[in-house]
Symmetry: C2
Subunit: 391 residues, 2 copies
């Protein structure tokens, strides 16, 4: 198993802010770093910026190979020259979220000490303050201001990225011309909290977690984190997709300690697939970040500050919204997007809502879905006309 | 945490068979025990027996308090005097499944040694041969013959119990007058296998599992088994039921090691509920049994022996079938019951199929569902007339 040093060794483009960042929990980070990538060029009017917000375990490497895994950018199909988010036309910014593990301030960062110094060798780990989606968005706002951008042409993201889009539109309505929350919800449901809780308990159950101080031994809680990833991964796929991809097909079981307990020395392909998903994940993701970010998602409820009424959160907004859901997504189902659309309608907002038929489940937002991509491109093109952005 | 000795200390009614039981995997158990409970009286014609088959983590204590937990029988609402399965009229038999941990032969039983002896102190543990649903049913058939019963008036069960019902009807059609497979499927789906795999990996990840030889230290893999139970438990409930029962309500977090990482010292009620489900489960269930039985469910495919055609499995059957599903059950959805009903139709069988509207998910088959209970009672009453069973 690779050690986290592999991840820490990668240098990320970043900017560090020394003005304090007050978090919702009451703690103030004296300093915080936002790691980010950009694609395309900011125009002279600084009016063509598109912020891409990433999901739970993704990062800022949206349209280029991942520096650890070497795999293609996670949204290569959506962001790039001639793509729906056309980098020949738009200046795309993708920051790593606060609490993440790809260069932005999070549990891997060296901890701030009470005397005003920063520890030279001790990361925050589990003592990293609990952050919320709103805290993440406020950190991103600093980055946008740092880049000299007053108003984002668009904010786009799927899953937890969509939560950030909604939070951006609610918190900074004048700074968001167009918002595209995809495959998301205005709050995390009891079932989704429950699945996250299983993952967290799997991490806590791993003795290598060591109460979150695993940097002291260098032994990461790989088995617990892998189980968490396996459980989450099932929720990213539909039942139909699992049946289509794997069904009940068998393969030979590996010659490891669990072989003896596989009937006839065989295992189901879906078992092998899940095990691979688990073991590859732990090489690129930090367990304390996983705890921090899942908790941020669980606490997300954009209407909570407005007495529970989502329409109030968007009252008077001039932002143009495109909501997208996928028919077989049971993690962030169409009903969740529809209730956002209804609230936006009640708020008198300009909103389009499309459900895309697919059997690929929640992951569809990351996959090759031509109708979805055409709709994104069309919506951005239309908004560009309204924004006076010339091709 | 209670030690497994608590479970081992309970004496269960049982019968031991010394004729060998040949398992599908090729191993022959030289001797095997079937623990069981009965309710009501067998009539003189021995024609009023109803076999109740239990689900994954249930047992033979269907209509009386559980000897370990003290909780009421798991199907008190269905089995008893004046209940749908009326013990004033029927002789109800409920065996613990082969591979179980409530007295029937399973991983907790002392292992058979190559020299023909049985170990005095070493259980099978993980070396218990992999068993299938068919093996479970063949062990049950021995019990039924031992009780002097040629033909069961009815076989009934939900979830894995329903798998056993289907296997009984396919394997011993002349011995089953009426069959009631409830909230079940003719094979385990890729998604269901995937969820079981997460649970097994959680157990394997617990160092207290000790490659299944945890009896040597007396330290059971409680944390891994609890995570497995938490994950499975989510699949037993519907999203609607979780929302109705818990929603996003918060409660104070316990003063334990994970408190510090809960935002504002609070936790969601659904987290607390799941943790309780996990920790209470490990006191009554054996991890190796959990591995054995989940694997048996995963391998279940009643049509596999008939070239994949379910209708062939039931060709020429004279058994009367009642299939029941629950609208919000996403673990064994209505589509799975419907495809069984269609296959039975193709086989020319006598089949009724009812989907019950409920928001309770898979667990509905265990809960207070008056329409379901009336339908069971009505079906049994009708079958009794056809069987010439007089009230």
């Amino acid at each position: 198993m690779d050690q986290p040093v592999t991840r820490a060794d990668v240098a990320h483009s970043h900017v560090t802010f020394d003005e304090g960042l007050s978090l919702e929990c009451g703690v103030t980070l004296r300093s915080h770093t936002v790691a980010f990538r950009t694609y395309g060029r900011l125009n002279a009017a600084r009016s063509n910026a598109v912020l891409v917000c990433h999901a739970l375990t993704l990062d800022q490497y949206v349209a280029e190979p991942h520096p650890i895994t070497g795999r293609p950018g996670w949204w290569n199909a959506v962001v790039g020259p001639g793509r729906p988010v056309d980098t020949d036309r738009f200046f795309v910014i993708c920051p790593n979220v606060l609490g993440g593990c790809m260069g932005s301030t999070g549990p891997l960062s060296n901890r701030e000490l009470p005397d005003g110094a920063v520890s030279a060798d001790e990361p925050w780990g589990t003592d990293f303050p609990p952050v919320t989606i709103r805290d993440m968005v406020r950190a991103q706002k600093r980055l946008i201001e740092h880049l000299g951008i007053d108003r984002l042409f668009a904010v786009i993201g799927g899953s937890m990225g969509g939560m950030q889009v909604l939070q951006w539109a609610a918190l900074y309505p004048e700074s968001v011309f167009a918002a595209m929350p995809i495959a998301t919800a205005s709050y995390h449901s009891a079932q989704n909290i429950a699945f996250h809780e299983v993952g967290r308990q799997a991490i806590f159950a791993d003795p290598d977690w060591q109460n979150g101080r695993y940097w002291q031994t260098g032994q990461i809680p790989a088995r617990g984190l892998a189980v968490a990833r396996m459980c989450a991964h099932i929720t990213y796929l539909s039942e139909e997709a699992l049946t289509r991809k794997f069904g009940r097909r068998l393969q030979n079981a590996p010659k490891d300690s669990t072989e003896a307990i596989n009937l006839f020395g065989e295992m189901f392909e879906v078992q092998s697939y899940l095990r691979h998903q688990g073991s590859s994940f732990v090489q690129r993701f930090d367990a304390n970040s996983y705890l921090t970010i899942t908790r941020a998602m669980d606490y997300f409820d954009v209407a909570a500050d407005c007495g529970g009424d989502l329409a109030t959160a968007f009252k008077g907004t001039r932002t143009r919204f495109l909501l997208a859901s996928f028919s077989s997504d049971w993690l962030f189902p169409t009903t969740a997007s529809r209730s956002i659309a209804r609230a936006l309608n009640r708020a008198g907002a300009n909103v389009s809502f499309v459900e895309f038929p697919t059997d690929k489940g929640h992951d569809a937002f990351l996959l090759d879905e031509p109708d979805f991509h055409r709709t994104l491109a069309g919506f951005l093109g239309g908004c560009a006309i309204h924004a006076g952005l010339h091709p």
